[in-house]
Amino acid sequence: LSSWLPQMVPFRGSHWQSSLLGLRASLLMRAQPKKKKKVDVKREQAQKDRMKKKIKKLEKAAPEMIPIEDFIAPLKYSDNSRVRSLPPLSFEETERRVLLMKKWCLFKQKQDKAEKQAIQTLVAAQQEALKELRLESEELYQAAIRRDEGLFPYEREGPSYSPPLPGYDPPEGKCVDITKVYTQ
């Protein structure tokens, strides 16, 4: 067939030959017209069915959650051989600690109460402002009551221990993500 090609080139204008590339295919089709088509279709159907079955089987299994490494204690800490032996504390030391703890508890309680009080005053002030606004104009009140679409997503970095150093030149480097990828 390949020896035919240079001869067939000038015949490109003939009616049964649309392109050089289609030469072989058109000849084969003319030789064995029907059998190959059926077998191909059947094979394709069988393949598709097999794939569908596989997909169904995989989909039946429920998706699993990725296990969280934080909650899995590494094995080296379950070893009970290492025991800490602390010296016994003196009476004054224990008293000092207990009193310190009580002072800390009181301080935290006051802090918490102050926070709750602040929240209550905030809410009360807000309600009063809304009441006054309602008396002023109903339309503005309704607009104020609505939810803010632009509020979320809301992002904020935590405060840092020290402000950024002026003129700091960080060394060049890169971060490589080595998180373990779990697959089901």
Binding site: E69, K174, D177
Partner: protein
């Protein structure tokens, strides 16, 4: 053993004394395999926000866990409904830096990023800024706060990836 048996005979009038389980409401049979299904995402009305995710990220695990606990308790006290409170999978990063005199990258540290999520729903539009203010003022150092709406993609990121299923689905279509 027989003498200390407290069962009463069937013909006696005391038969069945002490039965109480028939008085309790019927419990649904507990399935051993609880299928991990996504809870319905609330969209929210005009005056209320739907499902919101308060995501706290940090390199320090204890700090982020304590902050998550604090936020959870705060929501409980302020009667904000907490739908779910979970942890996202930990991410590990290897930090390499270039040595001053040399072309080799040297390992500096291995950092683990921890993330905790508190999911709330039904937050009223007037109370939202107050809650945000309180959470912000108590934010510890190094903890990154992100409040966003809950989506299906957020839920899917918690599940394991199934490459075989995805391959087959790609082949099909």
């Amino acid at each position: 053993a027989l003498v200390s048996c407290h069962r009463h005979y069937r013909s006696r009038p005391t038969h069945g004394i002490g039965r109480f389980k028939y008085l309790l409401p019927k419990e649904a049979p507990k399935k051993k395999k609880d299928k991990v299904q996504m809870k319905e995402i609330d969209v929210g009305t005009e005056h209320e926000y739907g499902d919101l995710n308060i995501q706290m990220t940090s390199y320090d695990m204890c700090l982020v866990e304590h902050f998550a606990q604090y936020v959870h308790r705060l929501c409980n006290q302020l009667s904000v409904r907490v739908k779910e409170s979970y942890a996202m999978p930990t991410k590990t990063n290897e930090v390499l830096f270039l040595e001053e005199r040399g072309s080799k990258m040297q390992l500096d540290a291995v950092l683990t990023t921890h993330q905790r999520v508190v999911q709330i729903s039904g937050l009223s539009s007037t109370f939202a800024p107050i809650l945000l203010e309180v959470i912000q003022s108590n934010q510890p150092e190094g903890v990154h706060l992100l409040v966003k709406e809950h989506t299906e993609a957020d839920f899917k990121s918690r599940l394991k990836s199934r490459p075989e299923l995805e391959e087959l689905l790609a082949q099909m279509s």
